[in-house]
Subunit: 337 residues, 2 copies
DNA sequence: TTGTATGCGTTATCAG
DNA sequence: CTGATAACGCATACAA
């Protein structure tokens, strides 16, 4: 079932069928009608590989995701979903590539096999070899997150530093004097994971600026770690009255630790941070937090990538989002002892 | 950068390069060496579209997922991750297609555009038009979940009916006499979602067999619904002392409702069901439940699909998994009033 | 408005 | 062991 067969049955040449389908050349109404009838009857669709070969583009976007072994967070899941949906809205398909670190077969296939017209890279490190690789491959790409020295590259990100700073000011305004940052895991920090490092920096600067005592703790991405982590920090720094966090997966454990310690939020303890909207609302009480606009970021990444593909010489663009903090019910004035 | 360029620089013909790469014809060691040097120097990789066109296969698998608007549950996320990883282990890429219901452009592209060698379909309904569509397209496919009359099709699934039955027997053995099934949403039930319907059937049969009073309630897939749902069922059927659930997303709400009602698990109330392992362990106390082996199901689906692609005339195969119930701490003897 | 011819980059068949 | 050359199915420049 190919274009030749359709042409034969419709009594026209193959190019006429092609042009009738693409509309890139006028075709008489009667001919179009006949062709469409045959196509409808046989359920014909152009072979994607042949079209890609002839056209020089695949109508496919690559999405590089962390391997399944590292569980996806809610925010990451939001990225994937919105990228796929945004691409579908443009009639583009999405090819998934699970990529861990260095020499990844799947990643190499994507980069160098001309399987995709462009790539969206998520969960990158401050120094990420994959960004280098894509640059020299001269394949259009957009990163969700930005490397330390983005130079002339395309990216979208959330300004973790600014958001954490806002959280700290909010707590300071409420009278808190000793606060803790519950960060992502020590491994991620050591590997150079941007959100973790930029949050830490923002936290230290903001607490210094407001004269607060700052504590920082790294916490693995699961509930058990959240529980252990919180209990430890309570015994180590009993004067801490508020926490800022970017660790979504630890929240259920933090919740349990608060309950177990008999702390009521926000009366006895304030909690805020940068968290996916759904999780912030699932918390009890709902978290005052900056909601990561994962869906918007994903859509934006697709938009930028398409702009870059359409005009490969275009000036690099980026977007650094700074969503407002949603005031819910998890922060309050520090209770004087 | 194509195979002709490599051939030219290596001083051989294009076919020799092709055979050196595929190994489908003997090539002298010296020639292979020379070719590999050139390839390494230029970083050449065969064009995937051209190869697919010539070879008649794409080395790509299609994965049909629910659209992002419907949030993925933990179990579904497990499917996606394990399918992608299993495919990568076979050097296959995965093309994602978000597909809601009937005539979906993305789904049609996949099915009829020869973009993939086979398809894995997840979250299907008991009567699913997409299964029909794939059948008549004679494209190899495997479903995660099975339609009502699977006939001669390939699928993998968890035996929800059997697992729920086991949960009921477990509760009956502990002396519970009035139990409730917290099912997925009413919309899913109405649409004919297999796990929801098979769980309901298994629940009713098992409770009848053991002479228990059975209650059933549908609950939307979020924490707020879980909370509302649980409070409602407590007032409506105050004699209920245990619940069975397959609704992961409602669990945080159920947890809060239990706490708010002052019920201690398992002393005052028992809770069990079919739940992703991670969520079962995150619950407080950890849930006695049948862990959905999402990773194994995904891997199995890929294996079956590859078997089908390798031998398209093969006898259809399927796998109905019945994982054991992990005894944790959320079920106990009914407390006599 | 339509038809012919060529190229896209590989694989695979047929000759040597 | 290696080289020409014909598919694969489509898009498009060139002719009419």
């Amino acid at each position: 079932m190919n274009i030749g067969e359709i042409a034969r049955r419709a009594g026209v040449s193959r190019s006429t069928v092609s042009y009738a389908l693409s509309g890139k050349r006028p075709v008489s109404a009667a001919t179009v009608q006949r062709i469409n009838d045959v196509i409808a009857e046989l359920g014909y669709r152009p072979n994607a590989s042949a079209r890609a070969l002839a056209e020089g583009r695949t109508r496919t976007l690559g999405l590089v995701v962390p391997p399944a072994s590292r569980r996806l967070t809610d925010v990451q899941l939001g990225f994937v979903g919105s990228v796929v949906d945004a691409a579908a809205a443009h009639d583009l398909d999405v090819l998934l590539s699970p990529s861990g670190g260095d020499h990844d077969r799947s990643f190499e296939r994507i980069v160098t096999g001309r399987r995709v017209d462009g790539v969206i890279l998520m969960e990158i490190l401050l120094e990420d070899p994959r960004v280098e690789r894509l640059s020299q491959a001269s394949l259009p790409f957009v990163t969700i997150g930005h490397v330390e020295h983005p130079g002339a590259s395309w990216w979208v990100d959330v300004d973790y530093g600014a958001l954490i700073t806002r959280c700290v000011h909010h707590l300071a305004d409420l009278g808190h004097e000793e606060v803790v940052l519950i960060n992502r895991s020590a491994e991620l920090v050591a590997a150079g994971y941007g959100p973790a490092l930029r949050s830490a920096t923002g936290f230290l600067e903001a607490t210094a600026a407001r004269g607060l005592t700052a504590r920082t703790v790294c916490c693995a991405d699961d509930a058990a770690a959240g529980l252990a982590c919180f209990e430890q920090l309570r015994t180590q720094w009993p004067a801490v009255t508020a926490a800022v966090t970017i660790n979504e997966a630890a929240l259920p454990g933090v919740q349990r630790a608060l309950h177990r310690a008999g702390l009521e939020v926000p009366r006895d303890f304030s909690l805020t941070g940068v968290i996916a909207e759904r999780l912030a609302e699932d918390f009890h009480p709902p978290l005052t937090a900056a909601d990561v606009p994962a869906v918007e970021l994903g859509r934006l990444a697709v938009d930028l990538l398409l702009a870059q593909i359409a005009d490969r010489g275009a000036e690099p663009r980026h977007a650094l989002l700074e969503p407002p903090i949603s005031l819910r019910s998890s922060t309050g004035a520090r209770r004087r002892p």
